[in-house]
């Protein structure tokens, strides 16, 4: 197993380099460059400033040279400084955004899993019952509802009309003047709406997976056997069926890992949460190459790691994979 993991880890290095190279080229090919945004359409902008910055950023060199320079620094985890006038290190910029996004997404994912598993299991065991039908409708409504629309409706209701919850941001502006418990409450209140909106949309997919997986498992012979042994239905479902039904869910969970740091642009923009999604979009729009690349490296590495983790845990929980198809699996 360790050997398998090691080999996969080594293989992912050239893959990572490939990903960064392609991304580097693609972002450089996108029309416009950082200079178009730093010294925009303006009668009084000086052209020599542009040339000066192009030199400073190394944008005058051929693209493969630029990439090589970037790569040399990136292996030492030096992603450079942002092209924007703040000129701050890329890692600082990412570092101050990451905790919020991670925190929100972990909570969201926990709630989604916590709700989706029982919803899925119950709809599977009571297939075509009224409960199944209601939840099916409910989750599909959630699936089909645009985030921003739901967010705005909830903001109008709870923020403007009822005044129960804050509309946007993470903290009240008088946060410094609150007591410790008031601060906690304030923070919690700010989180309610974004988390509700994010989980509502995510619930659908996950609970459908769970339901499907459970439906397959309960038809298996060993579940039949367990029932025949005279075990109670509760034990059959929770012990024999559920464990097996959770297997595919592990894969999906592991693949959700990179998404944890990606952040949702829509939710972050609407609720004015300074997270990773906004950072990424802003840096793409302003062609802030160092930040874009830094971000990509993190997301790409996490995706590769997540794939690896998914494979390994799969092997751990499913003996068939461990002994049988290791070579055959990707």
């Amino acid at each position: 197993m360790a050997l398998f993991a090691l080999r996969r880890l080594l293989l992912s290095i050239p893959l990572l380099i490939g990903i960064t190279f392609v991304s580097f080229v693609v972002i450089s090919l996108a029309p416009g460059g950082p200079l178009d945004f730093l010294t925009p359409e303006d009668p009084n902008a000086s052209p020599e400033v542009k040339e000066r910055l192009i030199k400073e950023f190394g944008l005058d060199r051929p693209i493969h040279v630029q990439y090589w320079q970037w790569l040399k620094r990136a292996v030492r985890l030096d992603f450079g400084r942002s092209f924007l006038p703040d000129g701050r290190p890329v890692l600082t910029k990412i570092g101050e955004r990451l905790p919020v996004t991670l925190f929100l997404n972990v909570i969201e994912l926990a709630i989604i899993v916590g709700l989706a598993v029982p919803i899925g299991v119950l709809s599977a065991t009571r297939q075509y019952s009224l409960y199944d039908k209601i939840t099916t409708v409910f989750v599909f409504v959630g699936f089909a509802t645009p985030d921003f629309w739901l967010a705005l409706l909830l903001m109008i209701l709870f923020g403007v009309q009822l005044g129960w919850l804050p509309i946007s941001g993470l903290r009240s502006l008088n946060w410094e003047y609150l007591t410790f418990w008031q601060q906690q409450w304030d923070f919690f209140a700010h989180l309610v709406l974004p988390i509700v909106v994010a989980t509502f949309g995510g619930l659908a997919g996950f609970s459908r997976y769970m339901r499907q997986s459970m439906l397959e498992v309960v038809r298996q012979d060993y579940v039949q056997t367990a029932r025949a042994k005279g075990l109670s239905e509760r034990v059959v479902i929770s012990k024999h069926a559920l464990r097996n039904a959770l297997l595919p869910v592990i894969t999906i969970l592991a693949l959700a890992l990179p998404g944890l740091i990606g952040g949702s642009v829509i939710i972050e923009s609407i609720f004015a949460i300074p997270g990773m999604g906004q950072l990424m979009v802003q840096s793409v729009f302003s062609r802030d190459y160092p930040v874009v690349m830094g971000n990509l490296v993190i997301v790409a590495s996490l995706t590769l790691v997540a794939n690896l983790v998914a494979d390994i845990t799969y092997g751990l929980v499913d003996p068939r994979i461990r002994f049988g198809g290791r070579r055959g699996r990707r």
Partner: protein, 552 residues
């Protein structure tokens, strides 16, 4: 729309919060109730919503509006603009010109201190000049400084600036934010200003001191008790970044923000017209510092003929555009100058909406509907078809393009519309001048010198004369206008330029958009003027009984 933003930023050094730029004209202030007065009091927090985060904390290095708004509170220049857009002393006590306009001498105030208690002196002024012209300084706007021949500190509080040629905008140049020599010298020399501590913990001389910047979230400033014009009343300014227009509007409805200047026309005209809102906020309206235009590519042989351009002007109903696109919240433009300023004249050729006149002019130029298909053709039977292009994501410009398309159809011209992402639009179409008709906007500037927009020497791909306009008389007048420090002479030149432009029509000036700020009604001391409302920001206050936030 980086273009408009940047232009605004350029002017933003003016007064107070920096977006004061605006002009003479009707001002509308409609408090729903008589505003109760209380004695001015210190305290409270002022919360401003902004769509974009600041780019950095050294304003001279940035070109975005937010940075200049925040920077305008932390830093000061030698001069500023008053409510009538005249230049008045700020950190300079007074200034004098030599009779030949080549020497400008500033006397500085002696009571100005940096936020770290260092005295502000002539050395800082010279240092700012040297930093701005240093090729290592990535300042986007350094043109005014490059024309300076020499800046010299005559004594601790006197600076003499020499020019090779008279430069009309000389005084205005020195309204730029002054930089602290004692903190920045080494960084400026090394060309690493962006990485200096000043860019994250700025020290200025302005009315507010920097407290914190949480990127993507907020910037917090606190009143400077030692400000040379007296401590501002509002104790704390929070500049909240809310990237969604819809969310800003909801925060406004829930009284979560105190000042917004980015309301859309429909929000301003319709969605805020209910009693509770009118009680909570005061709405203001004045013509903005920009104009929206329909630009011709004069390289296109069809538009080389003045009669065709004039025909287009007659085909377009400007009032219809203002009503349809801005819900009436704009003023008809007839030239590139800011209405109400000394350089502006109303006395130019106007083109009323008249499809008949348009058709007649087209016919005169040889465009007639020869095959009866509703589209005019030239003598060789080639139909008049074109594409109107504008940047994606600007709903107003898209609607303008659509209305213009309809109006052109009436006079037998078939137009398509193409919307292109900003960067690609500039790179692929505007710079190589590969367009026929574009909808764009430009800032009017705080000085009428528009050399870079209209002079024939400015037609290169990276220059601003995008329509490719060339007129000897205009060239001459532009040179004369920027080479005089006597306003009387300049007025003549600029009035004539407007007359010629209205006749030549290198672009059709459509309208000046109105600025539409709303301010919470607990703020007192707001006194609307031609330049807007922010010029006296430091005098705004909240009476003790109405203060809402603890602010230390």
């Amino acid at each position: 729309m980086p273009s408009r933003r940047a232009l605004r930023a350029l002017l933003a050094w003016t007064a107070g919060v920096g977006l004061a730029a605006a002009c003479n004209g009707p001002i509308e202030s409609r408090p729903d109730e008589v505003v109760a007065t209380g004695p001015p009091a210190y305290g409270d927090t002022f919360i401003q919503a902004s769509i974009g985060d600041i780019g950095g904390l050294i304003p001279s290095l940035t070109s975005d509006q937010s940075s200049h708004e925040v920077g305008g509170l932390i830093y000061d220049g030698l001069v500023k603009q008053d409510k009538d857009l005249n230049l008045v002393p700020a950190m300079a006590e007074s200034w004098t010109y030599s009779p030949n306009c080549l020497e400008l001498t500033f006397k500085l105030r002696r009571d100005v201190k940096w936020h770290d208690d260092y005295p502000f002196t002539a050395d800082d002024v010279v240092f700012t000049y040297e930093t701005m012209i240093n090729p290592k300084t990535p300042a986007p706007f350094k043109e005014g400084f490059l024309l300076v021949k020499e800046a010299k500190a005559l004594d601790k509080y006197t600076v003499r600036i020499r020019y090779d040629k008279p430069y009309a905008r000389a005084v205005e140049t020195w309204g730029t934010t002054m930089l602290p020599k004692h903190l920045l010298q080494s960084f400026a020399d090394a060309g690493t200003l962006r990485e200096s501590p000043q860019n994250s913990l700025p020290v200025g001389t302005g009315p507010y001191r920097f407290q914190e910047w949480k990127p993507g979230e907020k910037v917090v400033l606190v009143a400077n008790p030692d400000y040379y014009e007296g401590r501002p009343y509002l104790s704390r300014i929070v500049y909240r970044v809310i990237p969604s227009q819809a969310t800003i509007f909801l925060e406004l409805k829930a009284n979560g923000v105190d000042y917004v200047n980015t309301l859309t026309g429909i929000q301003y005209a319709r969605q805020t017209e209910y009693p509770a809102f009118r009680k909570a906020y005061r709405k203001f309206r004045y013509p903005g510092d920009n104009y929206t235009f329909l630009g011709f590519n004069l390289k296109d042989p069809r538009f080389a003929d003045k009669r065709v351009r004039q025909a287009f002007a007659h085909a377009i109903d400007k009032q219809e555009l203002i009503d349809g696109v801005r819900l009436g919240l704009a003023h008809e433009a007839n030239g590139p100058m800011r209405p109400g300023t000394w350089a502006y004249t109303e006395d130019v050729k106007h083109y009323e909406y008249s499809p008949e006149k348009a058709k007649a002019l087209l016919a005169e130029a040889g465009w007639k509907d020869r095959d009866g298909d509703g589209v005019v053709e030239d003598r060789d039977g080639k139909p008049f078809t074109l594409t109107i292009r504008t940047n994606q994501g600007n709903d107003e410009r898209k609607k303008i393009a659509e209305i213009v398309q309809q109006r052109l159809k009436e006079i037998g011209i078939q137009a398509d519309i193409q919307l292109i992402e900003w960067a690609a639009f500039i790179k692929e179409f505007i710079k190589p001048r590969r367009f026929e008709l574009v909808v764009l906007g430009l800032g009017t500037g705080s000085d009428p010198d528009q050399y870079v927009v209209w002079h024939s020497s400015q037609r290169g791909p990276d220059q601003m004369n995008r329509t490719g306009y060339a007129n000897d008389e205009v060239d001459h007048l532009l040179e004369a206008g920027r080479a005089s420090c006597v306003q009387k002479d300049r007025v003549r030149a600029y009035h004539r330029i407007q007359e010629i432009l209205a006749e030549d029509l290198p672009m059709i000036f459509l309208f000046n958009r109105d600025s539409l700020p709303v301010v919470t009604s607990r703020i007192r001391g707001v006194s609307p003027s031609p330049s807007g409302i922010l010029y006296n920001f430091n005098e705004w206050y909240v009476p003790k009984t109405q203060q809402r936030y603890t602010s230390g």
